[in-house]
Subunit: 702 residues, 2 copies
């Protein structure tokens, strides 16, 4: 039993549960209707079903999560991954159902990359024989794999990896080898301790010729007893900022021989014996998968944003601090301190995060639709969507994961001191979410892909416009559309003269389009006319990608509310109630205007708006936050439908019993299990009572 016991007293009045009840009574729309609009009934029902299966199962218990050290957390994650696979086999879950359950448990475990990268790589790059031999047992977890690409010395520059796989015609084998210390594979999730196979990216060398990185599937640990196979050395890379429940690993190979079937050969292959290299067809095909991964990450950004916002917004409605002298709050005639959510600064910090979550929701939906449409198009040889979708997905991955990471931290700080406590749920969330800004393309680096596409589009459009054969009505691509509008009138001015006019979505879209096109135009001028180097323009290129993607987010938010967002084939558009539509429109306005108001520089420089208009936007924002969004704030976060089990936060509880939960969690802190700390005799007593005086002798001194 804990040596720490709290008094049997309630928190000071008013109680958190009463405050949240009042908030919920103010909501102008049906929270459940909005949840259904976002996720669909089926998803919500399944969440409820999974919650019942999972919540009380010891392997999925979260109550000790914040107390465990790395070794214990990894052990618990291995146990959880085992239990979840067993459960999924019993329940016959689809991969989508598995993911939904796994997200609720919210612990990245050692089998995560087996599902996330190993099996998908086998499926997309393995030939039939390889799928039979490797993928089938992998689906049954007889083979547990990982994806070994990054090396100690090479991450972003995949083409620069050093590990080699040399074809040996005599034995029809490949010899995998690590030539330098920097060639050791590094960061490989699941490799440290769990995996018995790896997909290894290595430079394929046949007859002395280097064909660059190719994927090989290789056994690394004994199927008998899990020991490392001869010629392989592997282990865990140690503690990290987050993701400590996953065994990110390192591996190196000492002239390690694998059979010919190891080279994943759906697209490129080596002819047995002769060693002749067969090239892959269109390299563009692999871009499709990248789009899918990035759309998924935009969806995860929505989850992170909505989770952090739920915690911070609920706690801000419960936490009171100071009396606002200009408009003091009263309950039963008695002045109370003001809930911090009533302070305009708190609203300015938190409400745009709620809005960003919705923007990411609609954007990830649209990215998924485009992904499937593009896949279908490509199958019939139509690559028209690919470049735009790929470029936007790079920039959107970068922008949304940057926003989400910053927002988790903002939510953490907006909880005051208590956001620093692990029990708020926000520190671990920040730590586990953080790799998103680096993996799947470093957030600065990959914006160059977006930039390259924007500049190419701009140059081609300018050429077409001056060719005499141009017709604006032929433009279907949204990027070309806003670039063309800009070229029609680079000096366009915003017509708004009152704060209210900034609620017009056409004005919002024009501001974002004009600013993005202006940046693109300036950069193309610098590169092509001033002949500045690409390297010297990287900051501007990053800004152009951000501008392009902020426009997409604003656009998808607007379309997502209108309900006229294009739907995947065969799926009918969900219906949004008029009350919820009105409420979401407030959020959409805030989303568009807040980003301009907070960082107006590029908008001002584009010439579309002036300083007076930015100041008017400030008034529009303050007005919509105080009068429209504030009453619905709790409704907006409730609609995300994150159960308490998922949040695992004392501050973000649905019932508002913040302080009761928080103090209860503290009693479970391991060092509270004894009243006197173990180190007392050795490290404190020698100062405070060196002679071991007893009773009154020593107490009397003070």
């Amino acid at each position: 039993m804990s040596a720490l016991r709290f008094p049997n007293l309630p928190p000071s009045e008013p109680q958190g549960c009463d405050l949240l009840a009042q908030e919920r009574a103010k909501t102008t729309f049906s929270v459940n209707d909005l949840s259904v609009y976002l996720y669909g009934e089926e998803h919500l029902d399944r969440q409820q079903k999974f919650l019942e299966l999972i919540e009380n199962e010891p392997a999925f218990d979260k109550s000790d999560r914040y107390f465990l050290g790395r070794t214990e957390r990894f052990a618990a994650a291995l146990k959880k991954d085992h239990a979840l696979v067993k459960l999924s086999q019993e329940q016959k879950w689809t991969p989508e159902e598995f993911t939904q359950a796994d997200l609720l448990i919210d612990t990245p475990g050692p089998f995560g990359l087996h599902r996330g990268m190993f099996m998908p790589t086998l499926a997309s790059q393995g030939n039939e024989e390889q799928q039979e031999k490797f993928l089938k047992p992998a689906l049954r977890y007889e083979i547990i794999g990982c994806y070994a690409q990054t090396e100690l010395g090479h991450g972003s520059n995949v083409q620069g990896i050093e590990t080699t796989a040399t074809y040996i015609p005599e034995t029809n084998e490949f010899e995998i080898h690590t030539p330098t210390l920097t060639a050791c594979k590094w960061w490989i999730g699941g490799l440290g301790k769990a995996a018995n196979h790896a997909v290894v990216m290595a430079r394929l060398i046949t007859a002395g010729k280097d064909h660059g990185p190719h994927a090989f599937v290789v056994p690394i640990r004994s199927m008998e007893d899990h020991t490392l196979l001869p010629g392989v050395m592997a282990g865990d890379i140690g503690p990290k900022f987050g993701y400590n429940t996953t065994d990110n690993g390192t591996i190196w190979f000492d002239h390690y021989r694998v059979p010919h079937i190891s080279l994943l050969a759906k697209y490129s292959s080596v002819k047995p014996g002769s060693g002749e290299y067969v090239k892959p067809p269109n390299a563009k095909l692999s871009y499709g998968t990248m789009v899918l991964v990035r759309a998924t990450l935009v969806g995860y950004a929505r989850i992170a944003l909505s989770k952090a916002a739920t915690i911070a917004v609920r706690y801000s409605a419960v936490r009171q601090q100071f009396v606002d002298k200009d408009s003091p709050k009263k309950v039963n005639g008695k002045i109370i301190e003001t809930p911090v959510l009533d302070y305009s600064m708190q609203q300015y910090r938190l409400f745009p995060i709620i809005a960003a979550a919705y923007a990411c929701h609609f954007t990830s939906k649209e990215m998924m639709r485009l992904y499937y449409l593009n896949i279908k198009n490509m199958a019939s040889g139509n690559f028209s969507l690919l470049a735009d979708v790929h470029a936007s997905s790079s920039g959107l991955k970068s922008l949304t994961t940057t926003i989400a990471t910053a927002s988790i931290e903002e939510c953490r700080r907006a909880c005051g001191g208590h956001g620093f406590s692990s029990f708020s749920g926000l520190p671990l969330m920040l730590q586990d979410y953080s790799p998103n800004v680096t993996w799947e393309g470093d957030n600065y680096m990959i914006t160059q892909q977006t930039g390259r596409y924007l500049f190419k589009s701009f140059r081609e459009l300018v050429a077409k416009r001056s060719s005499g054969k141009f017709s604006a009505s032929s433009i279907t691509n949204p990027t070309l559309a806003y670039l063309n509008t800009y070229l029609d009138n680079p000096n366009l001015k915003c017509p708004a003269t009152t704060p209210a006019q900034f609620h017009n979505p056409e004005i919002q879209l024009a501001a974002y389009g004009h600013r993005a096109a202006h940046l693109v135009s300036e950069i193309v001028h610098a590169l092509d006319v001033e002949k500045r180097s690409w390297n010297s323009m990287l900051v501007d290129i990053y800004n152009a990608s951000v501008a392009h993607c902020e426009l997409i987010l604003v656009q998808n938010f607007i379309l997502g509310i209108r309900g006229d967002m294009p739907q995947p084939e065969g799926i009918s558009a969900p219906v949004l109630s008029p009350a919820a539509k009105e409420a979401l429109t407030d959020l959409s306005d805030l989303f568009a205007l807040h980003m301009i108001h907070k960082q107006p520089g590029q908008f001002l420089a584009s010439g579309y708006v002036d300083a007076k208009q930015v100041s008017m936007m400030g008034k529009a924002i303050m007005d919509v936050m105080e009068n429209k969004i504030r009453p619905n704030a709790i409704g907006f976060v409730d609609a995300f439908a994150h159960p308490d089990y998922y949040l695992n936060s004392a501050l973000g509880r649905f019932d508002g019993k913040v302080y009761e939960a928080y103090t209860e969690m503290a009693t479970r802190e391991p060092i509270n299990q004894t009243e006197v700390i173990e180190g007392y005799e050795k490290y404190i007593k020698p100062f405070t009572n060196p002679e071991g005086k007893k009773g009154k002798t020593i107490q009397a001194r003070l």
Copy 2:
């Protein structure tokens, strides 16, 4: 012995040590001279001496730091605090020397608040008898104390705390009591397990009258055996984002009686028997201490910035990625990948952080000088400096700790994936530094203090100017000076027409002064003329405080280089070599121009600069970064003189042997101590080899 062994191979060429040697050969100034200019010889000699004393002492060893869980880390910190006190007693260190040694060890321990808050409070608020009774044994660590102010429900609003201390005339005692759950003290460093006394802030109640929060020194744990005293319940508040080596604690009191001497009575007191309350004199006196604490935090921001920058800049000189096609690097005629420090984006991310460290260095020096000058002035009844110094110190605490936290994270990400590894040193640094944005005044909230002063100054100045009795030459206060310049000509335009002209410090200062004054003027108009509420203006007020404090940072950087910064009395100005002065001027230019270029909105809105000029600044920045700062980047961070023991980072090593150190650290990861993880039998084998097949039987399957 670790089950993980790395190959006996060097990293790929070129080697990190060679790259750093080349960098150092390019430095245009003497690194040692610059270090001496920053810290003085005495400080540097002492650092060397302390390093020798500390580095090889087991209690101060850092090699296991990143592997330990919270319980073990706290135990190690208690051991360290004990050993450091013993050492300081042997060495007869002054408090300043103690702090310097403690900073090198860089582990906030359970005795930290005893030194940082408990003893200073006794010294400043205790009368002579109390100093004799409590402070003297505290200096010998017979009493170990903490400072219990914050409660579960009240942090920022100290006036709202709920704990009461009721005077009982019959026994001449105070009864300390916790009336609600939210009144439990919370976050109290050192209270969780270590302290046997506490300074408790409680509402003093005499004869039914509430006199608000007062400080009481109370025993909480037995001097005999460290058990909690009857009527007191205390413990640790559990795991946190950082600071897990400190036992932040909670305490509550059940009608706990303490003697009359417990009320710290230097300023206010209660007459024994009658219970008559004696008011404190001028409340302003306590503002002085706040200025000191905040100046110290600005100094710590410098330490954090310089430490993070050292790691990221050194690693960015060693880490190579991609070949820059426009200007490929060669070594011995062979093209190598480009060190990431050569990419303009990396420079734009990291060089302003180096610059910010220097700006904070000079600013904290100047704040210290003003603190002592103000103390001297106040002693002779002169309060003329107090308001300005107090207001600026609030805003500077907020601004510099916000910059430092963001910069640690930026440095972490700028190390690519490896910044996510604990071995980079950056994750723990971020976690332990983070409370700075919340404690000693939440970074958003306290800017209201700065704002209030700025608006008051502006109103008074406007009134004076229109009174007819105004002479500009009478202005000595720097805030009034820039406000007055603005009022002289609110439509002033920047005269620069070329990028080079922005290197003129007068233009830089004018831009910052004009922007800050413009914001102040707009807010005063909104409050006084448009009658907008204070709450509705909080975002603008925050921006005004930032603008004011950015001006101060720019100003102090410029003065700090010129060598004409005012010196504390009796201290002669240190001398900066011409080469170092030139190099620091480049950094100062970058500091001033980068902030405008990155967030130009308010500068544009103020009318002082236009978009074309901001674009010119961009060119000036890119030029100074590539041609001036890049060659000196390693010199600038070396001059911070942070030893490897302090950095505790595989990436930031002085010798550049990054990958050797990094892999060596991984071998020490606890889960690498056995080849096969403990959970294998239970959680992996049931999938991979459920029937326990042996040897060829199972290997043959693949």
